[in-house]
Amino acid sequence: MAARQEEVRIRRVVACFAPGSVARPEAVARLAQELDAELLGLFIEDVELLRFASLPFAREVGLASATLRAMDVAGLERQMRAQARLLEDALAAILNPAATDWSFRVERSTPASAVEAVLAEGHAPALLIPPGGNIRAERRLVKRPELTLAAVKEWLAAGKPVVILPE
């Protein structure tokens, strides 16, 4: 597998970010530079989270403060926009001077659907970094025909990088 990985030249890195997941924009930017690949930063505004926020009794228990706070959709959207902007700025700070091709996209969807749609655009071999995933973890190699919604859900849940190879 290791030998196989070395042979594959990644064309595109798809780095997924989601509200609530640990984001390491600098790390993925450097990875894209190392691989000499195009980077797509994909920020997913999770519709399920928005749905939760729209519930009348939606409350959030802060991770750091352990205090209970009320949630609403408008507030959540503001937080997500701010988080997306910070991520985009962090990527720009590293990649613009390096002249690496990169783009940043915000999708409102379920994480699996958003990722599936992006991967379906092609650009294989592509490297998928799930939200909060460890970029240095062992990569799973899959072929493009294996790209299904269920498979993507599984990859995202595993939190490990996946290389999508052409057919």
């Binding site: 509200p19 939760f52 009794f57 802060g62 750091a64 352990a66």
Partner: protein
């Protein structure tokens, strides 16, 4: 009547033949001037006496070899003693602002410093390597994973319990929330779906979600504690790993210094600090620089950054030293004596640490001897106080002046004081010793040994030859050309003149060395290999010529008649007295005219100099003595009805001393007796109430001063000087004066009494002069009585009782 002194009495010659050598090259030179037995003995006692307070004060005038003798004796003693301990300052791990002083055996401080530097390098490598091992990584990862799993498990358990109640655990941007699952079970329920639920179901969800939120809150409260526990375990792991790397290295160094408990203790502290700060060693040297508000701080030059605390500041070390130190500090400022704490600029602020403590002269001399110039110490601000404090406390406490004066309140260092064991020798003038003794109560406690240097040595029969050896020593030391016997004899005579005594030799080494150097110069100019008498003579003449501008100007004003001094003829109540002017290190004599006026009255002898506040107290005393002489000699049973005045004519500066009192008496007697005084003679000498003429100072300069004026006007053979008999032994006159006396063109008379002097000056027997004076005074007294009988005070005409 007195005869003039023979020429042989005017200058005690040194016979070159009796010196017994051709040139000084044949002599075994003396290192130092003889005749300092008292000083040598005091010095030996002071150096040998190791008790508290027995510091030395070497006193005497400048240029008499005090420094060289003190230094030589100290070096002799120092060679017999062992080199003292080395001292270092190291970081104090308990109180960083109070650096610790470490004592090491002589010559081992540098090795210890280097060993510590190597230790830090080795520790950095060993610790970094220990943290790179698989064992460390695995154990570290294990702790991390355990924490993550513990947190995840707790959340998963909570999520599972929630799911059992149809509730989803949702990850939000900043935490977690709970929402009811949709009926389809594929996510959180839509608000519309929730709205369609029965009220009871809604309430049940809301109640259960509230409970779950509380549970989640409790769980999240636990998490920091779990993290702390994990961190503690990681620290423990770090300590274990570091200890394994550190122990062997530091224990090895401790074994090297097994005999030094203080070093052992310090190394133990280093070990403990290393274990507590292992992270510092895991960063490479060129790792992240320290920052202030995110701005990197520049590191001081030579700094090793975080490892600086393990550096060793070698304050003083004695590697290669074979004895105790003998230190002379030429600039004994406060900092130069007790050391200083330097600062470096960082971001516009001045910062310091223990590596910037610098040694002072007391540190360098510790365990040995320190020589200081007393005047320099006293004139340096706060140096004297700091020095006494160190001697009293027997410890060197390095403090900046700012700390000492309390004018700086910023955080600075308070280094641990270093025990002081030093023998201090202050070298200074006598008056400083006596002033300090009188005004500084601590001085007597600290400087119990006075080393009093003689200014001259006796000139017995063999002393000229001994002094020639001293000349030979100076010539050898200064690498000068040798002197032939005649030149050496001339130098010896010059030293006698310098002492102002035919039977003494000045041991003013600076003057002697200067003369020898300058004679050597003129020998070189003449292209000779041996210094001859002409070269010495030329050197002396050139020294005088360089300094005598004012003397020549003064002589010129007399010769041209601006200052009135007669050197021929006779005049009543007018006499030539002799004064000496000291300008720098050049003294010369010059005649002054003294006149007197007498009349009936009761004022006695009035000193015009005193009345005009130009006369000093000793001069006034001399004049008052004259009244005593007159009353006792001429009117022992009658009131003295005399008003007489005395004045130094054309004197516009102060007059001090009593050497002109005999001249003043001659002028007074001349005025009373109506006997003219020879103006070809000049007079010096003080007088007592019995009419005895007493010794004065600078007799040679005074005679030469009058001789020079007479020669300028032309020597007649009538001219001469009256000196006290007691000063004959001091005569070391210039060769030209002696020659003129030999040729009968000038004369020096030695007198014992006023009677002898007045006969020489008037050519009239003393008894006759006294008779005339007595008659005149009796006449005044009779007139006074007559006036008094008429009810009138003669000196206040018109006033009646």
């Amino acid at each position: 009547m007195n005869s003039p002194l023979p020429a042989s009495a005017l200058r005690r010659r040194c016979d070159p033949q009796r010196l017994g050598f051709a040139t000084t090259a044949a002599l075994q030179g003396l290192e130092r001037a003889p005749g300092q037995a008292r000083a040598e003995s005091s010095l030996a006692f002071g150096i040998g006496m190791r008790r508290e307070g027995y510091h030395l004060f070497a006193m005497g005038p400048e240029g008499y070899g005090r420094h060289s003798l003190v230094r030589a004796r100290l070096e002799e003693e120092a060679r017999r003693r062992e080199a003292p301990a080395d001292w270092c300052y190291v970081f104090n791990f308990d109180a960083p602002h109070r650096p610790r002083a470490l004592k090491l055996p002589a010559g081992r401080a540098n090795a210890f410093r280097d060993a510590m530097a190597r230790l830090v390098e080795e520790l950095a490598a060993a610790i970094a390597a220990a943290f790179e091992t698989d064992e460390y990584r695995n154990r570290h990862r294990e702790i991390e994973t355990e924490l993550a799993e513990r947190q995840e498990r707790a959340l998963n358990d909570l999520g599972a319990r929630a799911r059992g109640d149809g509730i989803a655990l949702v990850r939000t941007p900043s935490g977690f929330g709970f929402g009811p699952f949709s009926k389809a079970g594929d996510g959180v329920m839509e608000p519309e779906e929730f709205g369609k639920l029965e009220a009871a179901a809604q309430q049940r969800f809301e109640k259960r979600i509230g409970e779950l939120q509380k549970e989640l809150g409790d769980l999240l409260h636990q998490m920091p504690k779990w993290r702390r526990e994990a961190l503690d375990r990681m620290r423990g792991l770090d300590r274990d790993v570091t200890r394994a790397a550190v122990n062997s290295l530091i224990d090895e160094l401790k074994a090297t210094y097994a005999a030094l408990p203080h070093v052992q203790e310090y190394l133990e502290r280093v070990k403990a600090d290393t274990l507590a700060n292992a992270a510092v060693f895991r960063q490479a040297k060129d790792g992240e620089a320290p920052t202030l508000f995110g701005i990197p701080l520049p590191r001081p030059e030579g700094s090793e950054g975080p490892f600086r605390r393990y550096a060793v500041n070698v304050l003083i070390e004695h590697s290669g030293a074979s004895g105790a130190p003998v230190v002379t500090e030429d600039h004994p400022s406060h900092a130069a004596l007790i050391g200083r704490i330097e600062h470096v600029a960082q971001m516009g602020a001045l910062v310091t640490d223990f590596t910037l403590i610098r040694a002072g002269a007391l540190h360098r001399a510790n365990g040995g001897y320190l020589v200081l110039d007393a005047l320099k110490v006293l004139t340096q601000p706060y140096a004297w106080e700091a020095l006494k404090r160190a001697l009293r406390a027997r410890a060197i406490d390095v403090r900046t002046l700012g700390q000492e004066l309390g004018i700086l309140s910023t955080v600075s260092l308070e280094p641990e004081p270093i025990p002081l064991d030093v023998k201090l020798v202050l070298v200074g003038e006598r008056h400083l010793y006596y002033l300090l003794h009188a005004w500084d109560p601590e001085f007597a406690e600290l400087f119990k040994v006075a080393v009093d240097f003689e200014e001259d040595m006796p000139r017995g029969d063999d002393d000229d030859a001994r002094f020639a050896r001293l000349i030979a020593g100076c010539v050898a030391r200064e690498k000068l050309r040798p002197l032939d016997a005649a030149a050496a004899a001339r130098v010896i005579e010059h030293q006698a003149r310098d002492a102002g005594d035919a039977h003494k030799l000045s041991v003013r080494m600076q003057g002697l060395v200067d003369l020898l150097r300058e004679a050597d110069y003129w020998t070189g100019v003449a292209g000779r290999e041996t210094v001859g008498v002409e070269d010495v003579r030329k050197a002396i003449d050139a020294q005088v010529a360089r300094a005598d501008r004012l003397r020549e100007r003064l002589k010129e004003t007399i010769v041209r008649g601006t200052l009135l001094i007669d050197t021929a003829g006779s005049r009543v109540a007018q006499v030539n007295a002799l004064a000496v002017l000291q300008l720098g290190d050049f003294a010369f004599g010059s005649p002054h005219r003294i006149t007197s006026r007498v009349r009936l009255g009761s004022a006695g002898v009035v000193d015009i100099e005193r009345e005009s506040e130009l006369g000093g107290p000793i001069h006034s005393k001399g004049v008052l003595i004259l009244s005593g002489y007159l009353a006792g000699r001429y009117m022992p049973t009658k009131p003295l009805s005399l008003s007489a005045s005395l004045v130094f004519e054309q004197s516009y500066g102060g007059v001090e001393g009593d050497s002109a009192s005999s001249a003043e008496l001659y002028a007074l007697l001349s005025a009373l007796a109506g006997a003219p005084l020879k103006q070809s003679l000049a007079v010096t000498g003080s007088v007592n109430q019995h009419g005895d003429v007493q010794a004065i100072g600078s007799v040679n300069e005074k005679i030469e001063g009058f001789f020079d004026l007479c020669r300028a006007r032309g020597l007649t053979g009538e001219q001469g000087v009256l000196i006290p008999q007691a000063n004959v032994m001091h005569l070391m006159l210039r060769e030209d004066v002696v020659q003129a006396v030999e040729e009968g063109r000038f004369a020096v008379y030695a007198v014992r009494s006023v009677d002898e002097g007045v006969e020489l000056l008037t050519g009239v027997p003393a008894e006759e002069i006294h008779a005339r004076v007595e008659a005149r005074l009796a006449e005044f007294a009779a007139k006074a009585r007559a006036f008094a009988a008429g009810g009138e005070r003669p000196w206040q005409p018109g006033k009646k009782k």
